[in-house]
Each structure stands twice: as C-alpha cells, then as structure tokens.
C-alpha cells in the first residue's frame, strides 16, 4: 500500500474487518464486480461449450470426455490466480518491471523458432514445455500494452507534456514492431491483433492524430502493395476470400466457414439444446473447441445464448472503457484502452469469422476458446483493469 494510505489509516478510528470491507473506499468495494462477474460468466460458459464440443472427440481427448473440461477449469483457476496476483501487485508497482516482462515475452516468442517450438495447424506459435503448450504471443499482447503505456505516459504523467511527443510515439511503435515483425511471418491473426492494439493505444494516448491515420494508411498501403506485387499465391487469396465465398476453398477454409454457418444457422432462436447440436456432436466444424467455439453456442444455445455471449462481451468492454475514462493518469488509461482494443478486435474477428463476415484467422475468442495461455493473458488483463479501477479517484 502506498504511503498516502498509511497516513489515513493512522488518523482513522480502528474499524472491524467487516466494516473495513464495507467501507466505500475498501478494496472489496473498489473492485469492479460487474466486470469481474461478466468475465467469469464468459469463462464458465466457455468451459461448458468446450465440454460439449470435445466430449465425443476421442481422437483428441484420449477417451476421457472430461479431458478438456478439466484442463480448461485448471486454466481458468490459474487465470484467476494471475488476476488476483496482478491486482495485489497493482499496475503501478508493476511499472518498473515492465521492461523485464517485455524482454521475457519477446524472448519467448523467439524461442518458438527453436526446437522448443511446436507447429500447430501450420502456425509456429506454440512452445512445448513438459507436455504443456504455451503460446508466448498471448503474453506479448500484455507486454506490448504495458510497454507502450510506460513509454507513452512517461513524460505526460511526469507533467512535462500534455500529450506524448514524437519521440515517445516512435519508441512505443518500436516496442510494438519487435513482436509484430516476429509473428507477421506466420501468425497473421496475432499480427492483426497487435496492430489493432497499437492503433487503439495511439488513439487513446492523445498522441497527434497523424500517427493513427498514418498507421491506418500504412496498413492499407501494405495490403495494396502485397496485392499489386503479387506476393500472395492464389491459394492464399482464395483462403482469405473463402469466408465470403466458401467455394473458393471448399475443402479448407471454405468448408470450415460453411460448416460454422450451418451450425449457427440451424440454432435458430432457442438453439438445439446444450449437447444436442448435430453439427457439434457430429464434429462437422473443425477447431470447434478453440477458434470456432462460438459455433457451439450458436447451434446449441441459439440466438438467445449466442446473443447473450455478445452482450456479456459488451458488458466487459463497456466496463473496461469506463475504467479507461475514469483513470487519473495516462499510464492507466493507455493500459485500459489497449486492453479494450485487444479484446474488442479479437472478439469481433473471432465471432465475425464464425458468422462468415470476417476472414478466417487463427484467433481465439477471449475467455471462451480453449487454451491456457490465452486464458492467462485475458485474466492478467482483467487483473490490470481491476488494478486501474482500484487506484482511480473516487467519484461522487
């Protein structure tokens, strides 16, 4: 606890533990419970959906229908523990460790290209450690958010400038570019998420608009260049476009898109009932417990359930944005905004590809998709948001 609190403690009369918890400025009451419960609800729903999608998949569960249910429950428990740890440490205290954390993350990403790395679905994004696979890219998202926040807020929070200067922006971009350059080669999804995080942070930091616009222009320019120079093979273009026209890659992405759409479409208003989806039971949707987890909700829980998930995501993002707005320093604002950009884009891209309005990319749905590292990363993010919230000035 900071020194400021100590003085208050000394002046205040001694309170019972219960009174202290109930105090308006108590830690318990400073936690954003709406955010926490929404995130927890999404995670629990995710576990149920993962169970539904995997209980018949003997070829990956090894015959234990609860294999993924238990693993994801453990993941969630670890995630919650990480969140509590981050809350306890506080984002301000972590500020000085950010460079170390950042360096470790970049190192981990590079490790993927050593024999420790594992290739899954053509993407070299996993580290295999003692039977447990980690996706260091997920931590890199946290590292980029924190790193950019530190650099951009440094002078502003010191009161030297009102907004980040050119130097700070360039430094921040350099921080983001390092992991981006590493993953862009074979993890397009991660590269897209990182780009959106950078864009969100630049906007929220108050940096001159030219940087954000420049970034967008550069992105479009790069896309046009790739197209114009014919850097992509036609199969890559087909894969990209297959979300809109499944016939362009009927056995690959197109099949996936088509089956996902059938699963969601047949859910109707109320869904076919949990564990009753024929598409899910028949395993017609590939990667259904990871990237296409939303199709399980769509088929089995219907518009009511799947819409509810979107609404819960909306609640998480609404609380996160509120936290960003209410934070008192730029460091906190940038962290919260970066997390919003990260989660919002990932949710939109993931659900969008399941619904056939976004190209298919290997991006998990935050809280819901099966995966340890992703779960840890989003719960660290929730911990950071709570930490920002707890440090905010009291209003009213």
């Amino acid at each position: 606890m900071s020194t400021r609190n100590l003085t208050i403690d000394r002046l205040a009369p001694t309170k019972s533990a219960w009174r202290r918890l109930a105090d308006r400025d108590s830690l318990v009451r400073r936690v954003d419970w709406v955010l926490l419960l929404a995130a927890l609800a999404l995670s629990l729903i995710g576990i149920v959906l993962i169970y539904s999608a995997t209980r018949n998949r003997t070829e990956i569960t090894g015959g234990d229908p609860e294999f993924f249910l238990i693993r994801q429950s453990i993941n969630l428990a670890i995630g919650l523990a990480l969140a509590v740890a981050v809350m306890w440490l506080g984002h301000q205290r972590l500020r000085s460790f950010v460079p170390v954390f950042y360096a470790l993350s970049i190192g981990a990403i590079l490790l993927v290209f050593t024999p420790l790395g594992t290739e899954i679905n053509g993407q070299r994004a996993w580290l295999s450690l003692g039977g447990y696979t980690l996706q260091p890219g997920e931590f890199a998202k946290v590292a980029v958010v924190l790193g950019m926040a530190v650099v951009l807020a440094d002078q502003v929070d010191a009161g030297d400038r009102e907004f980040p200067g050119t130097r700070a922006v360039l430094q921040a971009l350099a921080l983001a570019t390092a992991p981006l350059a590493v993953v862009v080669i074979d993890d397009m999804g991660m590269a897209m998420v990182l780009s959106m995080i950078v864009l969100g942070i630049l906007l929220a930091s108050g940096a001159p608009l030219k940087w954000s616009l420049g970034l967008i222009t550069a992105g479009i320019g790069a896309g046009v260049l790739v197209w114009a120079l014919g850097l992509l093979d036609s199969y890559q273009i087909d894969r990209f476009a297959a979300f809109a026209d499944p016939s362009r890659d009927p056995s690959g992405v197109g099949y996936n898109t088509n089956q996902a759409r059938i699963a969601i479409g047949q859910g109707g208003l109320h869904g076919m009932g949990l564990f009753n989806g024929s598409q899910t039971t028949g395993q017609f949707v590939p990667e259904q417990h990871t990237d296409f987890i939303f199709t399980v909700a769509g088929e089995e829980l219907g518009f009511v359930g799947a819409g509810g998930i979107i609404a819960l995501i909306g609640v998480v993002l609404w609380r996160a944005l509120r936290i960003a707005r209410e934070s008192t320093d730029l460091y906190s604002t940038v962290i919260a905004a970066g997390i919003v950009a990260w989660m919002a884009f990932q949710c939109f891209e993931n659900i969008g590809m399941a619904l056939g309005i976004m190209p298919v990319a290997g991006i998990p749905l935050p809280f819901l998709s099966y995966g340890g590292t992703a779960m840890f990363a989003v719960w660290i993010a929730i911990g950071l948001l709570q930490s920002v919230r707890m440090k905010r000035a009291l209003t009213v």
Binding site: G265, G282, F303, I310, E326, A337, A344
Partner: protein, 702 residues
Amino acid sequence: MTNIPETGRTSRITIRLVVIQILVFSLLLTLGGRLWYLQIRQGDEFAAQAAGNHVQQVIQPAVRGAILDARGVPIADNETRLVVSADRTELSKLPDDGEQVLADVAELLGLPADEVVNRVRLCDAETPQPCWNGSPYQPIPITDEATTRQALQIRERTEDFPGISAEPTAVRRYPSPEGANTAQVLGYLSPVTDDEVADSEDTDNPLLRSDQIGRAGLERSYDEYLRGQAGVTRYEVDKFGRVLGQSESEAARAGDSLVTTIDTRVQAVVERELVQAMEVARGQHDDISGRNYEAEAGSAVVLENDTGRVVAMASAPDYDPNVWVGGISTDDYSRLTDENSEYPLLNRAIMGQGPPGSTFKVVTSTAAVNAGFDWNGSYDCSSSYDIGGQTFRNFESSSYGPITLGRAIEVSCNTVFYGIAHREWQADGGNDPVDDPDDWLFRTAHDFGLGEATGIDLPDEAAGRIPDRQWKEEYWEANRDEWCEIADSDRDDYAARIARENCTEGMTMRAGDMLNFSIGQGDVLVTPVQLASVYAALGNGGTLYQPQVGRAVIGPDGTVRDEFEPQETGRLPADEQTMQNLRDATESVITTGSAAWKFGGWPQGEIPLRGKTGTAEASGDQQTTSWLATYTDDYTVVMTISQAGTGSGASGDAVRHIWEAIYGVQGGSVDDDAALLPEPHRDLPRIDENGTIVPQRDDDDN
C-alpha cells in the same frame, strides 16, 4: 458516464475514448445483427443443410407386388436373380473410364462388349436405347442372368472388376401362366428419371433413385399400389461417416398385390385364336386388292356383361414382357419400336381405333327408332342408294327388297340405313341445317358411350371419334388453311378438287358424311373396348359399365385393401322393346344372317349367342378391317383384325373357338367340365391364414 473526473484529464483523450467506445459497440451490434440474420432470418435453410450433413440413408428396396389373374394365378411376380451392375462413379475414377473393366465383364458374361457399354451409358436426347435413364449415382444393371459361377468370379476378384458388383436381387418376372402372355395389359417397368424423383419428393411415398416404375399397362396404372414403400434407415453420422445413432427407421413395406379380372386360361385361348386367325387370313386371297390379306395387327376383348370386367384382352403382334427386365437390349428395343415392328408395345384393344363398319348398325337402328322410325316398318334394301350424283352401294351390291330394321341388321343391309340417315339429314335441314338440329344419329352414338374414352383402368386409352357437327367444324378450323392453300394453287388433280371443296364447305355436314356414318364408315372411330362395352350393354339389358382390369388390391398381409366395384357409366338410349328387337336381330345374325356360316351347329338353345359382323373400309389402298362383336347373356367377345377382309370371314372361327372354350362347347353340345368359365368369377381368390393368395388351379377346380 458523463462525469469527467476532477483530475487533469484532458478532453482530447475523453473524446477519443468515446470514439473508441462508439466503434466497439458498432462492431458488437454488427455481430448481433449478423447473428440474427443467420439464425432467425435464414435459420430454416441452415437446418435443412445440417440435416443433409449428418444423416445418411440406407435403403432397403420394397418387393414389388404381384399381379394376379382372377383366380389368384400370378401373371407378374418376382424372382431372385443374380444381377451384375456397374457403378459409374467408380468406373469414372479409372484411367480409361472403366472401358477395360466393362470389356472384361462382357467377356466373363459372354455378352458383346458394345452391348455392355451401351447399357451403362447415360440417356440423353441423342443417345438411342438402350441407355440408362436412371440416376448416374446408382448401380446400373448389366445383366440379371448371371450364373452363380460368374457372380462368384466378380465378387472374388474385386480388384479385377472395380465398380462392378454382383448381388442377388428380386427382379420382375412375367411367367405367362397357361401361355397367356398378356404383355400389353401388364405393361412394363423401367428406372425412374431424375425428374420423376424430384417431382415425387413431397409426396407420401417419394421415389428413390434405384426405383423402377411402371411405364405402361397395369404396372403403370396401379404403380402406387404395386410399388410398396422402400425401407429407409436414417443414421446420424459424424463428418467421418461414423454412425452416431439410428435416428429413424422405416421397414420396407412390400407392395400390394393386384388381383385382376383377367382369367389367364381364357386369355391364353384369346391370344392363341387371335394369332391363328391372323395367320389364316394371311393365307387368303383378297379379290378387291388382288393380294393376300396383310392381317398385320389385331386385337380381341372379352368382357363380363354385368360388370364390365375384362376377362381377356389381347393385342397382336405381342412381345415377351420379360425383355424389359434388367434393362432392355438394343436389338429388343428396336424390334419393339422401329418402323417395321408393327409396334407390339401398343395395346390395340384400347389404343387402336378405326371405323367400326356394320357393327355400328345397332347404334344407327336405335337412333332410327328414337327418331320415330318403326322397327317393323318396311324399308327398301336396294342394291344402291343415290344422292346428288353419288352412288352408295350395298356390300357386293346385293339387294333384299323391302325389309324390317331387324332384318337389315341381320343381313347387314347398308341401303336401309342410308335411307334413314338421308331422311334424318334432310329433316335437320340438309346442307342448310336448322338452328337446333335433332341429330338423332350423333346423339344416340354419344349416348352409347362412343366418342369418349371408356375410362378403363389402363393408361393411354384412345377416345374414338363421333364425327358430329361440332367435330366437323373444329376439323375444318384446324385444316382450313392447308386446304385453301392447295385450293388456290393451279393443280387440278383429285386431291386438289377435294381440297377446294373442303376449303369452302368443309364445315358443312353433307349427306354423304351422314350416309357413311350410318354404317360405321368414314370419319367415325371406335376402339375395340368401346365396341365391346356397347355389346356388353346389349347383353346385360342396357347398362354401360366402365371396363376394368383391376379387381382388388391385397396387402402383403393378405388384407383386402381396396376392391374395385363395377362402375356404371350410363344406359343405352333404347327402350325395352328396342333392346329386345336388337337382341333378336343380333341373334339372327348368328343363326341365319351374315355370321351364320361360321356358327353352324352352335347350341343356341343352351347358350344363346348374338352378334354383328363388320367390314370397315380403310383409307388408301389398305384392305378392309374385319370386326366381329358377339355376346351371350354373360360375356361379350369382340375381335378385330386390320386388313383381313370381312368380320365373319376373318374372325368367325377364332371367336367361335373362344366361345367354345369359355362354355365347354364340343361339337354341338355343352360339356361343363371342359368349360373354362361357364359363369363369371364372383369371389376374390382365397387368401390363406398367412396372407398368401392361393392360386386356384384347374386340378382343384371343384
């Protein structure tokens, strides 16, 4: 939300955060909207796609129901044969599209290689038969006559015969009991087309790609009953085709059996006698044309008078219906359909139509009575009748002096009927018809049920034609342009003169038309079954029945699902006295009249036989068509042979033999034991406790 903290937060950042918030929620709304579109707007569509995804059907074909004669003897049933089939999908995966495999199969089966290739090719507009007009995804039968040894070779050497299978399969069989082949009445089966499968999709009993359906005859008209319902087991499968569970299962329900009114023993006699009569005719010289009779086609019908049931129906030339089983060969198909084939697929008893000749005089004389002519009046049977420069002659220009209507029927005197028709025509205004002409002749013909199909339960029945004023008008409308074009040309041959006349007056009912009509010549057309139903009505006291072949439908468990009762379609427009007069006159035809020379010694006292002969002029240089319509109190037999001379001459012996067989007439006496059918069948065949229909054979007749 609007509460800006009292910290040093600049408004630029707040605005940017609000912008981000708007962006974020727009994205979420987009997702929600798309979700609504997929699930609520298009949900049903996807549900159908999902069903197609995860349900696999396994089909057990239903055994087709049998067709039985009135005694329960099968005339169409099934037998198990070894069917060798080719799967086009598999063959197309081979480098040479399976050419070599088909050649090997042909060699193994001892069939010509091109024959095999032809059978498995797909039909399209340009491909001649044989070709496969069923689904390309279904195994196509190459032969159903594989020996066990051949089948074993195919099954044991699958690597040599990819895409070829040999399975025991129930195939149709037409056993021709007693030698009665009944081909055209039975019809035949052929595989369904994709269109038929699509059309039947929404019905109670959708067709399967592997189905065969009836294309003609009873196989077609009773297809719904006979087909049964294929068993379908639907399995839920995952995407690898592994079975997750059985979602629905319907056992195959064998088709119902159809009990017909046909008596195969009588049918066999009728077929044999018809062919025999044609053969005899071909050996006879026709003085008019100067060559032997062609007698290329004929037909015969036996009806039960009191019900309209068809006891026998034959059409010649016929064919072996078994050629259709397992796919028809090129040779067989052309033998049945090409120009020189005489079209044996046609059931001439219901599809063949022609002028009825003098057999029509029962209609004309009824019309005369209804128009007020006295049956017993005196009518001049001169050798010829003149109208406006045209001379209409009696047969062989014979004359009988003044006679009654009855006598005119008996001796088949044309000029008596010419006179009546001419007076009627004049009474109706002649060439300048009155507004509402009586048209007794036409009206009576219609009332006899002529000019429209009888409604027999066989497909493609011809309607015949009564060339009344309305027809005349319509015919003229349809042909006027062509006639008038010829009329305008400079030609002056016979055809041009006729055309010129028709162009201007073709719509007018002329005296000559009326005279021709009165003796069943000219434009009037009847089918043998129509004529038979007219004479059967004379035999039963005046009731017209819809002829029927189907008697009852028996379910596979032996329950009678449907019994088809006789259907009255009208009454002859004749009072009792006229009816009696007609019966007397037609009896005289047999005893002393135009047919007497063929029925000498007939036990008329025990079995009164009546009838009328007819000799119809045919168009062009064709020889005359012979008609003989005869009836007792129970049955009617009508036989017609084209280009065979007179009714009695060509068919007299044959029809007599048919009657002799039915009643057991031997010499001049009746032997009930030899009678095939002294009384019509009253009851359905016996069905035993297992639901099996027990055929009643001759040896257990009593």
